[in-house]
């Protein structure tokens, strides 16, 4: 099967600002994650792919067509942006009907598909409510449903789990993983490392409008993330003197005894070693929380 996206030497400028700087990229079937800090050009990249922006130079081909000039190719695509982008004064039903009709879907097909998705996301009860009356998270669920109406072969997701509760985020991630197995191509943009860790897929890291790394989500913990920190919570307070003997640098809020401590580790392998040592020293470990490093550090390769 041909690659869904083929981008060559793409530049996108807004006045004197270079948003995308010589990007070349070919998508793979399944989930392709794009990670980068704010202002890296991730959203601009998605907008060029779906044809919202005209490239300043270079080429963007989606299934062999130029999306900015070929409107019909967007029948195979969908974009879910970080903003829910729904019409506030229309009902959920009217919004979904409007977008579905633009994809030449009949009303009954639109309602059938959308009710199925909304039911699974526990949002069907809002079907006849105006969007303006809904919470931010519910709006995002409706927007996700809208993006799935045309069963896109190429799904572009820009921070799709922003504003969602944990269970809805998990539902969307599972849905995406499952969707990627159906010979679909998904571009998933995020700036959360925590999100990346939940996928086993290709990972593109962007910074300052460039692709600085083309790797996998698994490798990010092996090679790219050189140091990180974890928060260890104890069932009962432990002595600082004992923690000092463990041999890992740590921060704590108290001077004698603590019920939690932040440890600095060099790689994910240190988690097991550290916890093993703590247990050996008779500490009762209640839980380990991963503390997300700044995504800027990851994209610098530091």
């Amino acid at each position: 099967m041909e690659n869904a996206i083929s981008v060559k030497n793409l530049y996108k400028k807004f006045g004197k600002t270079v948003a995308l700087d010589n990007i070349s990229f070919t998508s793979k079937e399944g989930v392709n994650i794009i990670l980068g800090p704010n202002g890296a050009g991730k959203s601009t990249f998605l907008r060029c792919i779906i044809g919202l922006y005209k490239p300043s130079s270079g080429s963007v081909l989606v299934y062999g067509k130029r999306p900015y000039f070929d409107d019909e190719i967007r029948n195979k695509m969908a974009l879910l942006s970080d903003n829910y982008a729904l019409y506030d004064f229309l009902t959920v039903k009217q919004n979904l009907r409007f977008f579905g009709n633009l994809y030449k879907l009949g009303d009954s097909e639109i309602y059938k598909k959308s009710k199925k998705i909304l039911k699974e996301m526990d949002a069907l009860k809002f079907f006849d409510r105006k969007v303006v009356e809904l919470s931010r998270g519910t709006k995002q669920k409706i927007a996700f449903c809208r993006a799935m109406l045309n069963d896109p072969d190429l799904l572009l997701l820009d921070e799709p789990t922003a504003f969602l509760d944990a269970s809805s985020s998990e539902w969307i991630r599972n849905f995406i993983l499952d969707y990627g197995r159906k010979k679909k191509t998904i571009l998933f943009v995020t700036q959360k490392l925590d999100e990346v860790s939940r996928f086993n897929s290709r990972l593109i890291i962007m910074r300052d409008g460039r692709i600085v790394e083309d790797t996998t989500t698994y490798n990010i913990y092996n090679e790219i993330m050189k140091s990180s920190s974890i928060l260890v919570r104890f069932a009962r307070p432990v002595a600082i003197s004992m923690l000092k003997r463990i041999g890992y640098k740590f921060d704590s809020m108290e001077s004698k005894e603590v019920s939690s401590a932040k440890f600095y580790i060099n790689s994910y392998k240190d988690v097991n070693l550290l916890i093993g040592k703590l247990i050996k020293n008779k500490a009762f470990v209640l839980g380990v929380d991963y503390i997300e490093p700044l995504v800027e550090r990851i994209s610098k390769g530091g």
Binding site: G51, M77, L79, A85, F89, L90, F98, N101, Y103, K104
Partner: protein, 260 residues
């Protein structure tokens, strides 16, 4: 071009416009209230103040009328030369307000991103939005003309036992309504890439449509006579002006203008 998609965009925009009485209430309520109040006011003035006003501002038609017919002459003049132009401004203002919200509103509320991600072509998008601004403005103006015409006739028949409307210049004013409504929409399309939000678009549009308001006020001040030939020339001028403006706005408009 798929007409169904044009229809869908029009339907969506009209639905949004009429989704809240707070949005469409003042936009349609005030002109329609004017269409009722002004004819009643004109009759009161015609009956009670016509001779003194005619003497003060020297309107030829009224001054030349015999004393017994001054009230009728005043009612006739006021209904056509004052109320007509005032009603003609309504489609200009209404279409400008709706179009500004339709185009700049998509940008301000960030809904353009999902709209432009669909397989909607530039022409389908533009036509859909133009119809959504054009149709309510024209329908509202026709209703306003019909309302004020009926009230003028009812009052004049009750008072003078004759119907003042319709006259040919009055019918030509009605015929000019679609041309007056189209111009502000094209102006909004032209400026849509240069504005960030609805307020900015409305302010800029109101500045640009000011020349279109010259005619009604020129008539109000007695500087223009709304004769049949004048109205025919006006419609011809507006038709050419609209065509050129519409063509330029279509050529200049690009999809990105609704996003960045």
């Amino acid at each position: 071009m798929k007409l169904n998609k044009v229809y869908q965009v029009t339907w969506k925009d009209i639905k949004e416009t009429f989704s809240s009485i707070l949005i469409f209430g003042p936009m349609f309520g005030i002109p329609l209230a004017f269409a009722v109040i002004l004819p009643v006011l004109s009759l009161y003035i015609a009956v009670h103040e016509a001779p003194s006003i005619a003497a003060a501002i020297k309107i030829p038609n009224i001054s030349a009328a015999l004393p017994a017919f001054k009230s009728i002459a005043f009612m006739d003049y006021f209904s056509i030369n004052i109320l007509g132009p005032i009603t003609m401004t309504m489609p200009i203002i209404t279409s400008a307000v709706i179009a500004a919200d339709s185009f700049a509103g998509e940008k301000e509320r960030k809904t353009a991103e999902s709209l432009l991600s669909t397989p909607l072509s530039k022409t389908e998008l533009l036509l859909g939005k133009i119809f959504a601004s054009f149709l309510p403005a024209v329908i509202m103006a026709v209703i306003a003309f019909a309302l004020y015409g009926s009230i003028v006739n009812y009052l004049s028949f009750q008072q003078f036992h004759l119907f003042i409307l319709p006259t040919l210049p009055w019918l030509l004013m009605l015929a000019a309504v679609p041309f007056l409504a189209l111009a502000p929409i094209s102006i909004v399309v032209l400026i849509s890439s240069h504005v960030k939000g609805v307020k900015e678009a409305q302010q800029l549009t109101s500045l640009l449509v000011l020349p279109l308001l010259v005619l009604p006020f020129a008539s109000l001040l007695g500087l223009a006579s709304l004769s049949v030939s004048f109205m025919l020339y006006l419609i011809l001028f507006l038709a050419i002006f609209d065509f050129v403006l519409f063509y330029v706005s279509l050529a200049v408009f690009h999809r990105e203008s609704l996003i960045s």
